[in-house]
Amino acid sequence: MNLVKKLVQLYAAWFKMGLFTFGGGYAMLPMIQNEVIEKHHWATEEEVMDYYAIGQCTPGVIAVNTATFIGYYQAGIIGAIVSTLGVITPSLIIISIIASVLTNFAEIEIVQHALKGINVGVCVLMTASILKMAKSNIKDTIGMVICLTAFVLAYFLKISTVWLVISAGVAGVVIQAFRAKGSVK
């Protein structure tokens, strides 16, 4: 019974996140912070970052990877499947309707206005989410340096994030090794 309740919760939460995410992937962060972290306490800010990092180097859509991760830790493989089904259901319904009757959907004037408004809303949510995420994941000067380096390399030099994830992981190990050495008196 508890499992059924948990699965219903997972499905409903991920359905909601799928329905109100525009752009996918990282744009889901505000919804994840709200539903997964604050409401259900299924993961911490740090854990969500870990899943994002892994999701970045594993195949597939990031939103689906994150849903699978959180579902798996809550209720095993069945939890992973139910969460994934939850996050894809709104897409299945909405896209099927649009593909059947509204092929010119993206060109409708009112839709374009609404979307431009939504983009502003997403910018607002992302600003708040990024600040919150930075606060809980950047804990020292080294963290700040890693974050800025990753940004510069990905944004200006367009280096693939897969390589950057690997390099940042290696950097973490090396820095901590130096730290451990330094602390030996």
Partner: protein, 186 residues
């Protein structure tokens, strides 16, 4: 029947090899268009536009769209989408299991010590395009005044206002900004 099996195979493949999220599936769709002619390049453009303007992860939206238009039925959309996400579910379940085991190890902790701040950087990169196109007028080298004002006002409301001691959830922000977009003809 053969068509369905080919589609399952192609979408499973895209799900397995497209690393880095929804946008990474586009080259795979292009290839399907060239190889099988399930849809034209022009329709691919429409599909990308629709996927960006509807809720849900982009990769999932596009898979549903291709499945639906190629097989002319809801089943098509369901089949292609499930094929696309199946590799993720399998791979992540395996990774999640391993991660649980090694999470406490010093080495893994150190790896994530370096990774977490980097991911913050990636998220900023991932949404920088949206920020630029929404708030700035790049060719004119100015800001877009109305969206910028709206951005500041909504941000202050979202972060400062509390209803019954609780923070506002993202959902009303999305709905209100859509309505304002229509009213202000953004």
């Amino acid at each position: 029947m053969k068509l369905i099996l080919t589609m399952i195979y192609e979408f499973f493949k895209a799900g397995l090899f497209a690393v880095g999220g929804g946008l990474a599936t586009i080259p795979f769709l292009k290839e399907m268009s060239d190889k099988y002619g399930w849809f034209t390049q022009e329709l691919l453009g429409t599909m990308i536009a629709v996927s960006e303007s509807t809720p849900g992860p982009m990769g999932v939206n596009m898979a549903t769209y291709v499945g639906y238009t190629t097989l002319h039925s809801y089943i098509g959309g369901i089949v292609t989408t499930l094929s696309l996400v199946a590799p993720s579910v399998i791979v992540i379940c395996i990774v999640a299991r391993m991660f649980e085991k090694f999470k406490q190890s010093k080495l893994v902790q150190n790896v994530f010590y370096g990774l977490r701040p980097a991911v913050v950087g990636f998220v900023v990169v991932a949404c920088s395009g949206l920020f630029v196109s929404t708030l700035l007028d790049v060719p004119a080298k100015t800001i877009k005044v109305i969206p910028c004002v709206l951005y500041i006002v909504l941000y202050l409301v979202f972060t400062k206002v509390k209803i019954k001691e609780k923070k506002i959830s993202p959902i009303p922000v999305i709905i209100i900004s859509a309505i304002l977009g229509i009213l202000l003809k953004l």
